[in-house]
């Protein structure tokens, strides 16, 4: 195959290394943002995406009022960041194209790796499937059951693991392997 990262020009290797480093940095801060806004437990992810919509899908027949005392500490308490349907539509609209481009960029790196065809196909499939499942989990959590939060968590980890596999293989084959050109 013409495109082989082990034997490619050093400029190509440098470009791929820069891409991987930049994506790695964005993944680290992506994880920090998830920790800040949604958390890593099924309960916190369910609270973010399912919200109150799960408990009260239908409006009451007549408008009703529930009143409860509040203290100033309640106002200061940590707010659960919630993502309602409108915001999830917006999030899906802006994130999925970006995830697709990241998966495509990492997929192009995978194509240049020396890997058995099936493993390469599997890795490319994982790169695209993980973000699909990430958002599928969010939508299922919102629309079907909070138990689907686990899908989002698993998919988020799968995105990280897929990136680490690609990055490790690429760095090894480009810069450390004995067979490199």
């Amino acid at each position: 195959m013409l495109y082989d990262l082990r034997r490619s020009d050093v400029r190509v290797k440098w470009l791929v290394t820069g891409l991987l480093a930049t994506l790695g940095l964005s993944y680290v801060f992506g994880a920090a943002m998830v920790a800040l806004y949604a958390g890593f437990t099924p309960q916190s992810v369910a609270a973010t995406y399912a919200g109150a919509e799960m408990s009260m899908l239908m409006p009451p027949e007549t408008t009703m009022v529930v009143q409860r005392p509040m203290s100033m500490a309640d106002f200061a308490g940590p707010e659960v960041h919630t993502v309602d349907t409108k915001l999830l539509i917006q999030d899906t609209h802006v994130h999925v194209p970006m995830y697709g481009l990241i998966a495509a960029a990492l997929g192009v790196v995978v194509v240049g790796l020396s890997l058995p065809r099936r493993r390469a196909l599997g890795l490319i499939a994982l790169l695209f499937a993980a973000p699909w499942l990430d958002f599928a989990g969010m939508w299922l959590t919102k629309l079907v059951s909070p138990r689907f939060a686990i899908v989002t968590i698993a998919a988020g980890w799968a995105m990280g693991v897929a990136y680490l596999i690609v990055a490790a293989l690429a760095i090894h084959q480009m810069w450390l392997s004995r067979e490199r050109g």
């Binding site: 943002m33 806004y37 919200g51 109150a52 919509e53 009260m56 409006p59 009451p60 027949e61 007549t62 408008t63 009703m64 009022v65 529930v66 009143q67 409860r68 005392p69 509040m70 203290s71 100033m72 309640d74 106002f75 200061a76 707010e79 919630t82 309602d84 409108k86 915001l87 917006q90 999030d91 609209h93 802006v94 194209p97 970006m98 481009l101 495509a104 960029a105």
Partner: protein
Amino acid sequence: MNFLIRAAAIAAMLHITPIVVLVKRPDAVRALLPGADAYVAREVHLSGTDAHRLHETVDWSPEDGVLVFYGGTAGSTSVGALEFVRVDTPHGPIEVAVGFTPQGAVRGVVVTKATVEMKPWVLEAVAAGLTDHYRGLRPGGAPGVPGGAAGIAGRAGNLAVYVAGEVDKGVARALAAYGAFYNHVRA
């Protein structure tokens, strides 16, 4: 490759920046319910008909169909109520706190949250006197949106005026919700 670069640039431009807290909620509560020493949260779960009526009035449905008002009292005297209203914009959400006097007029407005991108626009709008334009407004007053954006049009940049228009929407929603549902539904 050219397509990929263009697509990445477009996707990056569309990406909504994270939300930042401009004023903490307790600080907004202290400013809008001055002197209060006890608070109550009044959650109004709207029926389908009432939710539709509110939507027809201000083109808005509260999250999960629930309006939340916070009332404050000093001893046995009411000092008013406030609402936190979210406005979704193409640049992400902002949150506006609107406080009312016991007589039902707007006591003050505080923009509590915005996205990183919109924060400087909000600060410029507030510095241009945006929130002064809402003081004294009452539900059922003059039709149309509150005139905050129009009020700062000559004194602030286009983006500040734009975000002031979004704050206007938040205030209009708070006025409509307060006027129709704060005192008219029994707990």
